[in-house]
Amino acid sequence: MSVLVYTESEQGKFKKTAFEVASYAKAVADQMGTTVTAITVNAGDTSELGKYGVDKVLSVTNSDLDKFNAKAYASVIVEAAKQESAKVVVLSSSADSKYLAPIVSIGLEAGYASNVVEAPSSTSPFTVKRTAFTNKAFNMTTIDTDTKIIGVSKNAFGLKESSGNASSEDFSPAISTSGVTVQSVDRATDKVTIADAEIVVSGGRGLKGPENWGMIEELAEVLGAATACSKPVSDLGWRPHSEHVGQTGKPVASNLYIAIGISGAIQHLAGINSSKVKVVINTDPEAPFFKAADYGIVGDAFEVVPTLIEKLKAFKAQNA
């Protein structure tokens, strides 16, 4: 009857979203008067999960699962849910979790609500609040199946510590064979990804050309931030497509989003709106981004950004 949560790890370390979904699962379990079981795959030490409300860990160690595979991982989660008779399964909004969620949903005949931003407002009928229309609205949705799957939006619920210990047991479910084989993974391991970043520094067409991205990268480095860009910037080939954020690009739900030389078109804002604090630097005081931002500087990026980098370096040195 427990709430099952899939806590993702990478190279034996939990991702921050793992603690967020665990916190969420704990809130649901409290509402339902039950406990939280986490399912992990090749996660190494799992004791940290106790801090976020997990009571028990089903720990899968299997070298066949070294590379992520949606169908295989989905079967692990389905088997875990069955063993625990879980009525609620909690997942994150990472690319991998969004990939496997619909497969788990069919496997468990469980209704799935994605992009959920709050703990259920009611457990009978089971009602959650999710974003729709690319962050331009919220949608209250009931999940009416016996088992429910919730995909939690990143940074929406936050981390909630609770005191507790997570006991761990080995779990070796039957794993579905998949017809999809990963041949190669191309990922810059030394860089913060947009998905994981606390801070995102984003550049637009106002930066005039790819040769001017040095200061964007430097600013990102000083802040430990990921770099992103507006759609035309990636369409023009100034930056890779993987940096394109917005309605048709990647969503951003960081703590801080700094937009430089970006006008703030509706499609851009839709994708970055769930970031908590937004800063805009733009020469045009009429740019729509100023209506969406918390802090703004009307000024030339080529003057403001280098000064900002310099001052931030001093600030970091002082506060280190």
Partner: protein
């Protein structure tokens, strides 16, 4: 190769999002509907398979008669035929069940859907179709090649991309990258004329169950005004971000 492209009929990206009937329904008043952008990238890739590899391309939508202009547009872009499953789309599961049924009936080798629709943002239809029809599945797909029954695809992952090999039958969740923005086609007069003569068949729904129900919509709370900082006073910005916003 028989390709089925799933076409979601969504409000144009610039639409004002409002609700009616006590905030239970999307207000379509004055809203222009378009092919879901992620689906359009997939449709355009399907055109490439048609022209280079002789594939036959069918487009499908689950929806009422009001979605037919969107299907006609897909025909004008170059799809060979269209199917509308005659029922209102209510949730991702129901839509996936209906499309899976079309896939089984039509014996499609490749199903191209968008990674998500820009209205409901469920991101579940392609994966569910794959699971129901027991097909291979790649989502966030940014490139796709098919050679006989073998396929090579690239998937965008957090922080990079991965290359996978797989085989037909295959379902993909597509997005920009499958083709570039500049490859997208605006239907020309000839395409529009031809589209009128192409078959658009209406099939009755199997009345698949729904698993979730939309109860109500809410708009985000209005935002407070921006705090402007003088460009000659960057220290103040750092101070605000540190002490007020606690963001650095």
């Amino acid at each position: 190769m028989k390709i089925l492209v799933c076409i979601s009929h969504v409000p144009d990206t610039t639409s004002k999002i409002n609700f009616t009937d006590g905030d239970t329904k999307f207000d379509t008043n004055g809203v222009q509907f378009v092919i879901n952008p992620n689906d359009e990238f997939g449709l355009t890739r399907a055109m490439w398979f048609k022209e280079k590899q002789g594939a036959q391309v069918t487009v499908v939508n689950v929806g009422g008669p009001e979605t037919e202009p969107t299907l006609r547009k897909a025909l004008a872009i170059g799809a060979d035929e269209a199917i509308r499953v005659n029922t209102q789309a209510q949730d991702g599961y129901q839509v996936a069940k209906e499309i899976a049924n079309v896939v089984k009936e039509g014996g499609y080798d490749l199903v191209i859907a968008g990674r998500e629709s820009i209205d409901y943002n469920g991101g579940m239809v392609p994966g569910m179709i794959a699971a129901i029809t027991n097909s291979n599945f790649v989502t966030n797909c940014i490139s796709l090649e098919v050679d006989g029954t073998n396929a090579t695809a690239m998937r965008e992952i957090d922080g990079g991309k991965e290359t996978v090999t797989t085989s037909l039958p295959l379902v993909i969740g597509g997005q920009k990258g499958l083709v570039e923005e500049s490859d997208l086609r605006i239907p020309n007069m000839r395409g529009i004329m031809m589209a009128r003569k192409k078959p658009l068949s209406v099939v009755e729904a199997t009345n698949a169950a729904v698993e979730t129900n939309s109860v109500k919509f809410e708009k985000p709370a209005p935002k407070g005004a921006v705090t402007l900082v003088d460009p000659d006073n960057i220290d103040e910005l750092i101070n605000l971000l540190h002490n007020e916003a606690k963001a650095i």
